[in-house]
């Protein structure tokens, strides 16, 4: 099972192992990672699962679709590495990925 490291805004890291095929938002919610909310349940409607993909991993993550890009333009503190974590599927290729969390989802 791929390993994911979530790093909170204040630098606290939490490592979780999840099944391939799930998404980063669900991985966070299932394991009680507080910085990710995922209110809409993963349908790209709420943008409360904003995260930053670690620079070392950005190239390995498939690009966002237009709808997600438009949402990301409007989140607080967007960066080039911003993603909605519900739209990033976990795969064996992402084993070891590091995901940084924003200070706030609102």
């Amino acid at each position: 099972m791929p390993l994911i490291t979530f790093v909170s805004h204040d630098g606290e890291a939490k490592e979780v192992h999840v099944e391939s095929g799930t998404n980063l938002m669900q991985a966070a919610v299932d394991n009680g990672v507080d910085g990710i909310l995922g209110e809409c349940g993963g349908v790209c409607s709420c943008a409360t699962c904003h995260c930053y993909i670690d620079d070392a991993w950005v190239a390995k993550v498939p690009a966002a679709e237009d709808l997600e890009k438009d949402m990301l333009d409007c989140v607080l503190e967007p960066k080039d590495s911003s993603r909605l974590s519900c739209q990033v599927e976990v795969s064996d290729e992402l084993d070891g990925i590091v995901v940084h969390l924003p200070e706030s989802q609102f």
């Binding site: 349940g41 409607s45 438009d70 609102f106």
Partner: protein
């Protein structure tokens, strides 16, 4: 170990958020979540969409996996109903006669479908759509080439219609009012949804007066008062919900279109909080009391209730928002449009599938319905929460960036 025991009655979005919120806020006592459903709390919105279509499994519906509750020492008492609350003795009675003591109680009883008396509604294949169990039954009656009649052209009815049409079914929506979504949107939005559904092959009949549901054993048609007969292998009735306040009423808590709670989600008994669809609460952004039917309110108010139970009183202040997915339309709604006297549209709603409608009252922006317009939604959601107004002329002008239509 603390002797505190919080019992959460209800097993859906608010219950899940409340239970997790209590642990996040440092609640050290026992937590029991008593839900009527056999499954741990699950996402309801996909029931009329991805789950109905078969794109999502039961386990994918769960808000948190079952072991989350175990790891956080939250007792799930599932498939169980509370029949009585004794506020004097601080106990609840279960349907099997068991009695459990609490120190704090949380009511997250949600809403129940509004039922309407129609002749033939007891036939097989006639359903309301609220719980997983409803959809498990519905799935036995749907399939390519079959016919469905939906009674009620609100969001649930239209979502179910879109899902079944995508499966290759013949779908007819029967709406009693002159337009679909009449209760909740402007005429422009109704016209837009009617057009898209018709383009996708859904038949919509407005001002439909349903006389009876017909069949023997199972349904085979819906008879209208004007003599028309709509063939149907399945009928889904979606005509709204009512707050589930039976227990609160029996317990003598203050009610007024829902369980009356204060800004900290406390009921008239301060050892009892309530959150979600069942509550009537004050919204400081709109300056009035509301009863909302939404995941956002269930989750956000439940977190406030959890804080309250942990002694951290925090005012509930959230901008309501909603979403609905039908066909390739992603509708995102920020704010509440009730009371609007002006609608401004941005984009071509008559010919495209992407536009936004902004609702104003006395020149003040109230809400936006954004269809495949995530920027309009995101920015409006943030600025409405901050109390900022927008210029209707600039909003209507697509050459002006959305953010530049809002005051600085």
């Amino acid at each position: 170990m603390s002797q505190e025991h919080c019992i959460i009655i209800g097993g859906s979005h608010a219950a899940a958020a409340l239970a997790a919120g209590l642990r996040q806020e440092g609640w050290e006592g026992k937590i029991s979540l008593i839900g009527a459903d056999p499954l741990p709390p699950y996402h309801r919105p996909p029931l009329s969409k991805a789950f109905l279509c078969g794109d999502k499994s039961e386990s994918e519906l769960l808000i948190r996996p079952a072991d989350f509750y175990e790891k956080n020492n939250i007792d799930l008492v599932l498939g169980s109903r509370v029949t009585n609350i004794d506020r004097e003795k601080k106990t609840v009675t279960l349907h099997d006669g068991g009695v459990i003591s609490y120190t704090k109680l949380a009511l997250t009883t949600g809403a129940k479908v509004r039922k309407i008396p129609i002749e033939g509604s007891d036939l097989g294949g006639v359903f309301y759509l609220r719980d997983l169990g409803d959809v498990q039954q519905i799935k036995k009656y749907i399939g390519k080439g079959k016919s469905a009649a939906i009674i009620g052209g609100g969001y649930i009815g239209l979502e179910a219609a879109a899902s079944m049409r995508k499966m290759g079914m013949n779908v007819t929506v029967l709406e009693a009012m002159p337009r679909i979504l009449q209760r909740v949107t402007a005429p422009e939005i109704s016209a837009f949804y009617a057009r898209v559904h018709q383009e996708e092959g859904v038949e919509i009949i407005t001002e439909a007066s349903v006389k009876a549901i017909e069949g023997s054993g199972d349904v085979n048609a819906v008879a209208l008062a004007d003599g028309r007969s709509i063939p149907a292998d399945i009928v889904i009735i979606g005509v709204g919900v009512l707050p589930d306040v039976e227990l609160a009423e029996q317990a003598g808590l203050e009610l007024d279109n829902g369980i009356v709670v204060d800004e900290y989600a406390r009921t008239s008994d301060h050892d009892i909080v309530a959150a979600g669809d069942c509550t009537n609460h004050f919204n400081p952004i709109y300056g009035r009391r509301l009863r909302l039917e939404s995941v956002q309110n269930a989750s956000d108010q439940a977190k406030i209730a959890a804080k309250t139970l942990c002694g951290n009183l925090t005012e509930y202040r959230a901008l309501p928002w909603f979403w609905s997915d039908q066909f390739d339309l992603k509708l995102q709604i920020a704010g509440l449009s009730q009371g609007f006297d002006q609608v401004v549209t941005r984009g071509d709603y008559a010919n495209t599938r992407s536009f936004a409608a902004f609702y104003f009252q006395d020149g003040k922006l109230l809400a936006v319905d954004a269809i495949n317009r995530p920027k309009e939604f995101m920015l409006s959601k943030r600025f409405l929460a901050e109390g900022k107004n927008a210029d209707p002329v600039k909003l209507a002008d697509e050459s002006v960036e959305v953010k530049d239509a809002f005051e600085g």
